[in-house]
Each structure stands twice: as structure tokens, then as C-alpha cells.
């Protein structure tokens, strides 16, 4: 007994080192890079780090399972590791973890997908001849750093640590999107991603300030106001206005990180990064951080009905909006990026409808099949010589059979084909929407149809029809090597099977059990209930399975429609004829990039020019306008060759005059 306890505790303390292993591996690669030795081993170090993290993540996932059947959940545990930062007045920001079911799921998703992607990258980051790409080691170092940051974000036990992880993943994302920095598009996309995310982060930061200020009066001595556990304990004591404000500000951060309207603009461009990065960061893990954060702050959001309403509608509109754009793109990765945005929007709808467990369930299934899809698209891209435009190739099933089969599984899961993982989780969200908000439900159902349709449009255009190859692919494109196939296969297994953790087996009539067997809310839900999450309880055996049939039909009809229209990979774009100008609008992505450029970027540039002009020429102009700047003064001051000194002095004097007279115009104290 004692031995068991000791084993458990040493396991625990080993588990606490979870995020450090990827960091260690990244540091090792850095040392290799600096010393110039063992550089060929870079991937080994990072795979080892990711492997240890994955094992520990799985151990944690098991450890955090609720006892018994999961009813009567215990709530999260805040585990203090070290004090870190004193805010004064007895307030500390500790280095602490918050462990509950949600943490367990996130750890499992992050570590397992990360491991798969790192393994895949070994094959992907080589060219046709097996030569490593430039910056091979650096790529793996950044991946290691990213895994560390993401794990910190997930494990954080207080808002400051969360913010730390939040910023660090943004930084890693920047570095990895800009990995092909020689391409101007990649450099621009990296900058865009970082800046748009920072705009969201500023709301997030203000949300933390506001939260601190509101929660502090309720905090008991010895409690740290920014710890999750403390915030959740006192969440109910905040007034409705306070909690709505805090939640909306926090949601700003989620909108940036999880690419929701209007801060989504960076995600499609982020596809300029290498495909494994798109799979790991921009599909499976980092972009879900916003969903995670809103789910984590459940006790706050549960008291903020207005904020939840906003979350629901932002999600609903974003879902269909992204789907329309995905319908009219040719870049495979961009199609997948819009579908990521759309699926994340589904999760937000679930959060808004008070079903965070369904949101997290979808997050979890989505991670597998979307990572699979991106890796598959990467495999296509790899074989096609970095061409990813669907107009450039078709009929690839004959040359890339393995990739085609794996992609088919991913597409079916995304389309919500019955019995695959995406089907179960998406249906639950539809169910939650139906119960809370009928218009939103209709939007989501329509989006489901569109999802199935555009996913298979992409699939058919790529793999069906006559074989056509771009010039860059060479005469004999090769299918993915085993090192890329293995992780894709494992992810495909996840895409098929992962959903079964979340369904309950309940033999019954076909009207209340899907196909006589399945009902919603299985073990997975009990698992995530074990924590801070606020969920409306669901009673077993009471649900109706009708919705399952509806959504299955919607998915299948969508796929069928896509087959009818695109089954032979026609090159004349049938949709363009059917939808006309609407299709062109979708194809142009609603001109949002152009609008953003005109509304934000150009004015900022103009402002810069204006300031610069004031700084330089404008001042000179003022001097000239005054004209009779005494020559004598000029002679005294002529030490400065370019004559700028007078203008500086004049401007300075003007500034002082403004300051001195300011009090005249702003009223008296």
C-alpha cells in the first residue's frame, strides 16, 4: 500500500515535468545548432521529447479519470509548484497547474497530435532526393518550443501563466508561419498572424485586469486572486455587469487565437507555413486555445448570459461564413483552414449554448481528423512539388493511393459521415443548439451540409477524374514514405474511433438510440465533467435519436451532391455557373482582406507618413513659412549641417508653449 502510494507520488512528480521535456529537446537542438555537432540528430531529440510528453500526457489522462462511473465529479485540483511573482498585499502569482478533466483531454490531444506531427515532419522536411530543407534543425527546435508553450497554456493554474502560454504559442506560431521567410507571402502572413492575435490578446489582458480588480474585494486572506480555483470559487459573487464585461474581454482573446469573426483573417494566410505546422498549430492545438479558455472559464461564463449570447452568435455566423468561403477556394490548405474556422465556430456555439462538454468533445475529435487532413494535404503538396492549387492537378488516386485512402477517412469524418468521430461530436453541438436557439440550429445544419459538400468537392477535385500533374511534380510523383504514413494512419484510426469515447451504448428502439445502439454523452462527458466545467446535466435514456438521422442524412446528401457535381473533377467549376456573382464573392473571400487593408493598414501607413512628415519636412516647412528666421540665429546654430536644429528647437518651443497653455483649455482642477 505504502509502496503503491510512493510509486504514485513519484509518478506524479515525474508528471509535473511534462512540459519541460519538449523544452529540453528544443534547447538540445539549439545547442546542436550552435555547436555545429550532431545536427543530423535534431529530429531525434525532438521526437524523444515529444514521446516522453506523450507518454506522460497519456498517464495524466488516465490519472485524471474520475473514479467510478464518473457521476459526482470532484472538481479541479490546483497544484502549487512554486511561488513566483508577488503582486503585493499578500497576492501571489504562483507557478501552479490546474488539473481536471479538461486538462486531461487537452494534454492527451496536444501531446499525441504533437508526437504524430513531429514524426511526420521527419519525412516532410526533406525534398525528393532525401535532402533536408534549409533550417531543418531550426524547424524542430521551434516545434519543441511550441509543444512546451502549448502544454504550459493547458496546464496553467492561474491567468498570468495562461497569458504566458498564450503569448508564447503566438510567438512560436509567428516563427513557424514565417519559416519560409524567403517567400514574401510567408513573412507577411507571419506578421499578420502575430498582430491580429495581439489585438485579441489586448482584450484578453484587459479582461484579466478587470477580473483582478473585481475579484479582489471578495478574496479571502491566503487566496491568490488570479488563481483559477479562487476565481471560480468567488465567480458567483460578481455582479452581472462585471462578469459580462470580463467574459467579453476574455472572449476577445479567444476570437483572435481561435480565428473567429472578425479576427479570423490571419488563419487562411497562416497556411503559408509548412504543412505539419498547419496541422499541429493551426488545426489541432493552438487555434483551439480560445475554445479551451472559454471552457476553462466556465464558472465565469455561466454567470454571463449576455456574453454567452455573443459567443453563440459569433460562432453561428462564423460557421456559415467560413463555410461559404471554403466552397469557392482552390488552395487545398486554405479550404481546410476555412473549415477549421468553421468547426471552431461550432465549438463556440456549443460553449454559448451551455454545452462546453460537447465543445471539448468536438475539439478532441476535430484535432485528430483535421490534423490528418492537413498532413494528407501536406503529402499531396510534397508529391506535387509544393503545388497545392486544385486547378493544377487531378486524378491523384492512381499515383498517391495511400494518401488518398487516408484523406478519404479524414474527409468523411469532417463531413460528418455516420459512425466516424466527427459525426458524433458535431451532432451533439447541433443538439445543444436545437435546445437553446432554433435559428442558430438551422444555420449550423445548413453549415453541416455545406461542410460535407465543400470537403468532398476538394476530395474529388484532387483525387478523382483524369490524372493531371503539374510540371513541378516531375514525371513520377511518389506517395508518402513510411515515416509520413505511420502518423497519418494513427491519426486516421483516431478519426474513426476517437468519437466512441463520447457515445453511450444504450440498446433501445431506433427512435431513441441511433441504429438501436448509440446515445450521446458517454464516458468522455463524465470525464470532462470532473472539474470546473459548468454543464447542464443530461439524463440518460431520455434523448431522442432523430437528430442523428437528420444530420447523417445531411452529411450523406452533401457528399452525394459533391459527387454529382464534382465526381469527375470537372475543370469548368459547376458552382460558378450555379451561384454566379455570389460564388465570385466567396471566391474573393468577401474582399475582407482588401477592406482591412483599406480601413486599418493604409490609414496606419498614412499616419506613419504624417508623423514622419511632421518630424522632418513639416517642421522645416514651418520654419520656412515663418520666413524671417533670424539669420543671426541661424549662424549661431549652423553647427548642424542639415539645418534641422532650428526646426527642432522651434518645434520644441511650440511644444512647450502648448504645454504651458494647456491648462487654459482643459478647465481647472
Amino acid at each position: 500500500m505504502l509502496l503503491a502510494a510512493e510509486t504514485a507520488s513519484s509518478l506524479m512528480s515525474l508528471g509535473l515535468t511534462l512540459p519541460l521535456w519538449p523544452l529540453l529537446s528544443a534547447a538540445l537542438v539549439g545547442i546542436m545548432l550552435a555547436s555545429g555537432r550532431f545536427r543530423g540528430m535534431a529530429h531525434v531529440a525532438v521526437i524523444a521529447g515529444a514521446l516522453v510528453a506523450a507518454v506522460l500526457g497519456a498517464v495524466w489522462f488516465v490519472q485524471l479519470a474520475p473514479a467510478g462511473d464518473g457521476h459526482g465529479a470532484t472538481g479541479g485540483v490546483s497544484m502549487d509548484i512554486a511561488p513566483w511573482f508577488s503582486l503585493g498585499d499578500g497576492q501571489m502569482v504562483g507557478f501552479n497547474y490546474y488539473l481536471d478533466g479538461l486538462t486531461g483531454v487537452m494534454l492527451l490531444v496536444v501531446t499525441s497530435v504533437a508526437l504524430m506531427v513531429v514524426i511526420y515532419s521527419v519525412g516532410y522536411m526533406k525534398d525528393h532526393h532525401g535532402h533536408r530543407e534549409r533550417g531543418y534543425e531550426r524547424f524542430f527546435a521551434f516545434l519543441g518550443l511550441f509543444i512546451f508553450s502549448m502544454l504550459m497554456l493547458v496546464l496553467a493554474g492561474n491567468f498570468v501563466l495562461l497569458y504566458l502560454g498564450w503569448e508564447l504559442v503566438g510567438l512560436c506560431s509567428y516563427l513557424l508561419i514565417g519559416f519560409y521567410y524567403r517567400k514574401p507571402e510567408a513573412a507577411a502572413a507571419a506578421k499578420k498572424a502575430f498582430l491580429v492575435n495581439r489585438i485579441g490578446d489586448f482584450g484578453f489582458a484587459l479582461g484579466i485586469f478587470a477580473l483582478y480588480q473585481y475579484i479582489l474585494p471578495h478574496v479571502q486572506p491566503g487566496e491568490n486572486a488570479l488563481d483559477y480555483a479562487v476565481v471560480f470559487r468567488h465567480a458567483a459573487q460578481l455582479t452581472a455587469d462585471q462578469v459580462n464585461l470580463v467574459c467579453l474581454l476574455l472572449f476577445c482573446g479567444a476570437m483572435g487565437k481561435s480565428a473567429q469573426i472578425p479576427l479570423y483573417v490571419w488563419l487562411p494566410d497562416a497556411m503559408e507555413g509548412p504543412s505539419p505546422v498547419s496541422a499541429l498549430i493551426h488545426a489541432a492545438t493552438m487555434v483551439t486555445a480560445g475554445v479551451y479558455m472559454v471552457a476553462r472559464c466556465g464558472p465565469l461564463f455561466a454567470n454571463a448570459p449576455d456574453a454567452l449570447e455573443v459567443v453563440t452568435w459569433v460562432g453561428a455566423i462564423g460557421a456559415i461564413y467560413a463555410a461559404t468561403m471554403a466552397m469557392a477556394q482552390y488552395d487545398m490548405k486554405r479550404i481546410l483552414a476555412y473549415s477549421t474556422m468553421s468547426q471552431l465556430a461550432y465549438m463556440f456555439v456549443a460553449l454559448g449554448c451551455g454545452a462546453p462538454d460537447s465543445a471539448v468533445f468536438h475539439l478532441y475529435t476535430h484535432a485528430f481528423f483535421k490534423a490528418l487532413l492537413f498532413l494528407g494535404a501536406g503529402s499531396v503538396m510534397h508529391a506535387m512539388g509544393n503545388v497545392i492549387d486544385l486547378r493544377e492537378f487531378s486524378g491523384l488516386r492512381s499515383v498517391l493511393p495511400t494518401t488518398q485512402r487516408l484523406m478519404l477517412i479524414g474527409c468523411l469524418a469532417l463531413a460528418g459521415f455516420p459512425l466516424l468521430s466527427g459525426f458524433w461530436s458535431k451532432d451533439e453541438i447541433l443538439h445543444a443548439a436545437l435546445e437553446h436557439n432554433f435559428p442558430v440550429f438551422v444555420i449550423l445544419l445548413l453549415t453541416s451540409f455545406m461542410t460535407a459538400y465543400y470537403t468532398f468537392r476538394m476530395y474529388f477535385l484532387c483525387f478523382h477524374g483524369p490524372l493531371r500533374l503539374p510540371a513541378a511534380a516531375g514525371a513520377h510523383p511518389h506517395d508518402a514514405p513510411p515515416v509520413m504514413v505511420l502518423p497519418m494512419t494513427l491519426l486516421a484510426a483516431g478519426a474513426v474511433l476517437a468519437g466512441y469515447l463520447g457515445v453511450a451504448i444504450h440498446w433501445g428502439s431506433p427512435l431513441d438510440s441511433f441504429l438501436f445502439v448509440f446515445q450521446g454523452h458517454g464516458w468522455f462527458h463524465h470525464y470532462v465533467h470532473n472539474g470546473s466545467m459548468v454543464v447542464t446535466p443530461v439524463e440518460h435514456g431520455s434523448g431522442s435519436a432523430v437528430l442523428y438521422y437528420v444530420s447523417a442524412a445531411v452529411g450523406i446528401v452533401g457528399i452525394w451532391m459533391a459527387w454529382r457535381r464534382y465526381g469527375t473533377a470537372p475543370q469548368d467549376e459547376p458552382d460558378r455557373k450555379s451561384f454566379g456573382p455570389l460564388w465570385l464573392l466567396w471566391h474573393a473571400r468577401y474582399y475582407v482582406d482588401e477592406i482591412f487593408d483599406a480601413v486599418f493598414v493604409q490609414p496606419l501607413r498614412a499616419l506613419g507618413r504624417l508623423f514622419f512628415a511632421v518630424d522632418r519636412a513639416g517642421v522645416d516647412g514651418a520654419v520656412n513659412a515663418i520666413g524671417g528666421t533670424p539669420r543671426a540665429l541661424g549662424a549661431v546654430l549652423r553647427v548642424a549641417q542639415n539645418g534641422m536644429l532650428q526646426s527642432y528647437a522651434l518645434t520644441t518651443a511650440l511644444g512647450i508653449a502648448v504645454l504651458a497653455l494647456l491648462w487654459r483649455f482643459v478647465g481647472t482642477p
Partner: protein
Amino acid sequence: MPASFYPLINVAGLLPEILLVAAGCAVLLMIGPSRRFVPWTALGAVIGALALLLWGAPHPESGSGMRFTSAADFVRHATLVVGALLVLVAFAQPRDDERGEFFSMVLFSLAGLMLLGGASDLVLLFVALELVGIPTYVLVVLSRHNERSLEAGTKYFYLGAMAAAVTAYGFSFLYGVAGSADLGRVATAVTAALAAPGSVPHALALTGLMLSLAGLFFKIAAVPLHLYIADVYEGAASSVAGLLGFVPKLAGIVAIVKMIEAAGWSADRGALFWTLWLSAALSMTIGNVLALRQHSIKRMLAYSGIAHSGYMLVGLIAAGLYAREGSQVGGLMADGPGAVFYYAVAYGIANLCAFAVLGALRIRGAACETVRDVAGLLRRQPALALILVIAMFTLMGLPPTPGFWGKLSLFGSAWSAAASAPADVQWWIGALVILAVVNSAIGAAYYLRVIAACILYESDEPADAIPAQTPQFGATMAGVLLLIYSFFPNPLLMMSRTATRDLRDPLGFVVEAPAAGQPAPVALSPHEEGRAGVAR
């Protein structure tokens, strides 16, 4: 004024400053072969002064226009710690035959900054400001041998002289209001005058405050007195540009805090509020927008220095709340001046660190200046590249660097101030915080460019480090210090919070104090004693 009013203070307490000045004179006299030891003498003096301050010299008693509050203690310590880094960074900088002049100027400037922390008299404050300022003008010229540094130094000198004149003019108004140069009396009189709008003293006090602040804005390069900064930074050698980011800036900040204190902590209302508000908003925005346009890292850092001054002014606006009784929020998120002190030091070190790395690099024999020059630095000079990246992270405010802790406390305290400020300015403070956070988001873009160039890009043009190891050592020390402050932020934060302990009681100066003749009860609260001496 009777002689007894300004008793001679205990000179032993000022030994650190005296050591610096003495060493400054000594290095001027070192000629011939002994010049080689000039940097060592300067370093020894700074470290010796620090040792004296920590263990040797008694805490100086207040009097003679000096008041050694906890803020003064903070400034003295910070000056010497960062001063040691400054000397290390500049170790091999100037030509051999001008080292004496160069390092004596550094030492004088540091001594001035230390004295400034304790100054509690308009005259001494002004003298200390000039003792900080004049050596820096010389340093800019001495640091490099070309036209640009000469031009930069001249511009800096003329504009600095102009700003000093304005400050002196403002001080004269304050003297006129109070009838005394002592800051305690000035505070009493100014607070009373500000409370009576429409009266002549009111106008005089406001004019005095505004003019003093205008001159001091020059020191911290806040809008509208920011114009010189890019040319000066660009013209000066890297080590001097690093010094300019700390010494004059901290001097200006300390003096501005003293002015706000003299105005009865009324930074969240009235003309003082609007002055700080406008200057903060414009400094942040203009600094960042201009920095975004730069390709030269030195100019970028110069313009971003304007933005950082803006952030500090945001913290000073929170000073009003901090002094107010009954505010619900306490601690770091409500201590504007403490946050500003912290930030000034963190920024100073990070800025110095960045310039030190630039100073240690050469591109084909020329100074390393543009973003392109540092491309691929990670491959050529991994250590320097990492230090530069840490410095950029700090300036950017990425957690967990000191820049983040500083911004957290600056903006946090301003946000808290918004909640308890007078209703008419509440929204304005909130808007300022939002502007500050947006600005620090925008600001990340240009720092990120340097970071990306360093660790992402590859370059065919190698950036070689200069052979001298000492600037690298200075850069390394600064980088290590930043790392320490990242992971162990508490000591410095606590120090800067303690620094504001004596500033804490709001209108302390107006409180009736014991008559001048009575001795102060305990030696442990020197400011009380100083106050007792003046506020009869």
C-alpha cells in the same frame, strides 16, 4: 534664511557619490600609459560605491536640500547596479586618448543621478538634473569620431540647454508661489494654490508645473520634446545610446514624480492629468508609428524609447489613485510610481542590453545598424543573438520577461486608477490604458522583425563580433540580469514597491509637522525628519 535651517548633512552618508566624483576627477588626471587602467578605475569606483552603499556608508541624514526617502535609496542602488553594466558595456569604446574624459563624464552623470534621487530642493534638483545632463552631451560627442556624433552632440546640447532653461523658468514660478525652494514647502503652497482656482497663485502654480514638466519631458523624450532622440541615438556610439536610455530617463522620471508629489498627487485630475494624458497618448502612438518605419535598429530603438516613456507616463497617471485612501485594490496593480520605477530600470537594462549587442558587432568593419545586419546572427554568434532576443522580448513585453511584469503593473495600476478616479476622467484613463495595450501590441511588430532576423533568417554576410571581449561581457551580464528578473521578479519588484513607501501618505507635506527646532523622533524615517525641518 538662517544657517541652522540647512544643517550640514552627514557627509559620510554621501560617500558613494563622493567616491564617484573623486574617481571621475582621478581618471581625468590619468595620462600616459596609465590610461589603460581608466576603465578599470571607473568600474572599481562604481562597484566600490555600490559596496559602500550596501555595507559601508551610514544612511545619510536628510537636510541641506536632501531628503533620503526610500525612493532615493532605490534610485541610488539602481544607478550603481546599472552603472556598473554601463561601464562594462562602454569598456573598450572610446579611443585610448579620450578614455579619461569619457569615463569621468560617465561617473559624473551617475553621481548626478544618485544625488537627484535625494534632492528635495528646487535648486539642488536643478543642479542634479544638469549634472546628469551635461556629461551626456559630452559623451555623445566623445563616443565616436565622426561628423554625425558631433552633430548629434551639438543638437542634444542646444536642445538640452533650452529644456533646462524652461525647467529653471518653471522652477522659478514654483519658487514664487511657495516663497521657498524646498520641495516640501513648494508642495504645501502648490497644493493650496491648486485648490483655489481663479486666484493668481493658481495660475502661477500651474504655469510653473507645466513649464517644469515640459523641460523634464525632454529628459525622458516624451512628446512634444522628443524630436532630438533619433538623431542623437543614431549619432552616438551604441554604448552611449544605451546609457541615454537609462540615466537621463530615470532622472526625468524621478524628477517628474517629485513634481507630481509637489502637486499633491493630483495626477488624475485637472491640467496635470491632461498634460500627462496627452503626452502619454501621443508619445506611445508617435513613438511606435515612427519606430515601425525604421530599418535602422538604432533609430527604431530610439523611437521606441519615446513609446516607452509614454507607457511610464501611463503609470504616473495612476499615481493619484495610489496615494488615495480607501482604494480597494492594493499591491502592485495599484502602485503607479512603483511600477514606473520598476519599468524605468527594466527598460534601461533591456535597452542597454540591445545596444551593447549592437556595439559588439561589426559588419565588414562597419557598425552594425540595420535589421539586415543582424540576419542570421544565431548561426554566427549564438550567445549574442540570444541576448539580443532576450532584450527584444523584454522591450516587447513578452511574458515572463521584466518588460511583461513592468507593463502588467503599469497598465494594471492605471486600470485600477480608472475605477476610483473622479467620474469625469474615469473613461479617459480607461481609454488611455486601452491605447497603451494596443500600442504595446503594435510595438511588438518591429521588435519581432529583429527577433525574426536574428533567429529565423540566414545571411550571407557574417556579423562578426569585435575582438574586445568586454562589451560582450557587459551585454552578457545585462542579458543574465534580465533573465534573473524574468524568473525571480520579486526582489526588484519589492524594491521598487518599497521605493514608494515614503511617498505613500498623500499630502504628507501639508500635515502639520513638529517645529523645526525639535529633533526627529526616530532616525529610521529620514523623510519625516526632512519634512519636520521644512513644514513648520
